[in-house]
């Protein structure tokens, strides 16, 4: 595994995973040279597992996880960085808001080290980013699916993470709404140079949003590079893998 201690010019983050859990064996080592990188591949390829290992939600039986030169997990030495100390935002397909807190409390939950006033201002900023400031006092149960996902994104970004992981968060969402969310989201992430790994099955979405694509199959990186080049060179294979060819 190549471990990047320091970032190369134009490199956003270096991800290195060696992970074994049951039958799944992941071997991933790549430099994220774009702010928004799509993880692409068939079901069961290990895309979600990569995100969960990075986020610290899966503890590997054996292996190592190195993020930008920082060892997060090393089963040999017993090193383990808890999920919240990794400063990684994670949004899944099913937004799981804290049901007993209103929207503002949900968004503010992960903010630390700020005064109460600054924390409240951050919450308002994040809600404004996703056009959700009018939802601040509402309970999660009173929100639509799209509204819940916007709040989940605001909550993940509020602590200003060093990396964002998105596991198909826009599946089943209206196309207009998806564009309305993606625009400000990608701009905000690019401005702060926060690298994002985004799992998607949608080829069109990958073309629209990604500068880089990583194709994963059976836990291995099959291809990694600019979206147009990777998708064009592997078009037939990708369509077959995704069941549309």
């Amino acid at each position: 595994m190549n471990e990047a201690g320091a970032s190369a010019a134009g490199e956003y983050m270096h991800v290195a995973i060696e992970h074994t859990l049951g039958d799944l064996s992941l071997r991933v080592s790549c430099a994220l040279s774009a702010p928004w990188t799509v993880l692409f591949g068939p079901s069961g390829a290990g895309k979600t597992s990569i995100l969960r290992v990075l986020g610290g939600l899966i503890r590997p039986v054996s292996g190592r996880v190195v993020l930008h030169g920082r060892t997060l997990v090393d089963t040999a030495s017993g090193a383990w960085v808890p999920p919240a100390e990794r400063a990684i935002g994670f949004v899944t397909q099913r937004p799981t808001l804290f049901p007993h807190m209103n929207v503002a409390a949900n968004v503010g939950f992960g903010i630390s080290g700020l005064s109460r006033r600054s924390s409240e201002e951050r919450v308002v900023q994040m809600l404004q980013l996703f056009h959700a400031e009018h939802l601040a006092k509402r309970a999660p149960a009173a929100l639509s699916g799209g509204e819940k996902q916007r709040v989940a994104l605001a909550r993940a970004l509020a602590p200003e993470p060093r990396m964002l992981l998105l596991d198909e968060p826009f599946t089943g969402m209206d196309a207009d709404l998806k564009v309305a969310i993606l625009g400000p989201l990608t701009a905000w992430l690019a401005e702060r140079k926060i690298p994002t790994l985004y799992v998607s099955h949608d080829v069109a979405e990958a073309f629209q949003t990604a500068a880089d694509v990583i194709v994963i199959d059976r836990g291995q990186v099959e291809a990694h590079g600019p979206a147009q080049l990777v998708l064009a060179s592997r078009r037939e294979q990708l369509l077959r893998q995704l069941g549309v060819g």
Binding site: I88, F90, L97
Partner: protein, 219 residues
Amino acid sequence: MDQQAIFLTFRLAALTTLILLAISVPLGHWLAFSKAHWKPLVEAAVALPLVLPPTVLGFYLLVLMGPRTAIGRAVSALLGHPLAFSFAGLLVGSVIFSLPFAVQPMTSGFRSVDREILEAAELLSPRRSKILGRVLLPLVRPSVLAAAVLAFTHTVGEFGVVLMIGGNIPGVTRTLSISIYDQVQDFAYAQANHTALLLLSLSFLALLVIYRHRGNAGV
């Protein structure tokens, strides 16, 4: 009605409930999420009072608290009197006897929390106390209520353990259930009926509170 026994019983039940809540939250949390291979041992020990005859538990506690064991002698030296046949001894016995009634609802409550909600909290806060206080405990509120009500009512109604380790000392260890026993022995059925009716009403009210709250919480 035996006013002294009413006061003593409710004091005992309130203190037992407070102690059990303090124990059952961390213990229930551990039992719900721990992957320790010796967890079944702890689960079996916690559940033991459910299947053990109260007199058996009372007998062993009586022996343990007595002067024949090192623990009994140490506690006796510390308090200045033996634990057996005292209110403090009654309290220890009640906490042990009602332990599963508080721990099991808490464990079930923690286990029922959506795994993804817990993961979201763990990603956002490194402080376990914040996750417990602001996410987990509010979500298991019906379980906390069930644990408190069951611990309280079970303590109010206990007989065998109380009689074994506390005896029947008015104002010190005579609880309502022992008072009923005494009244029946004295053929004072009207008095026994009043006391029994109080316990029956209390038990029914407790169950009503639990089921009503569960219905409102949609549990």
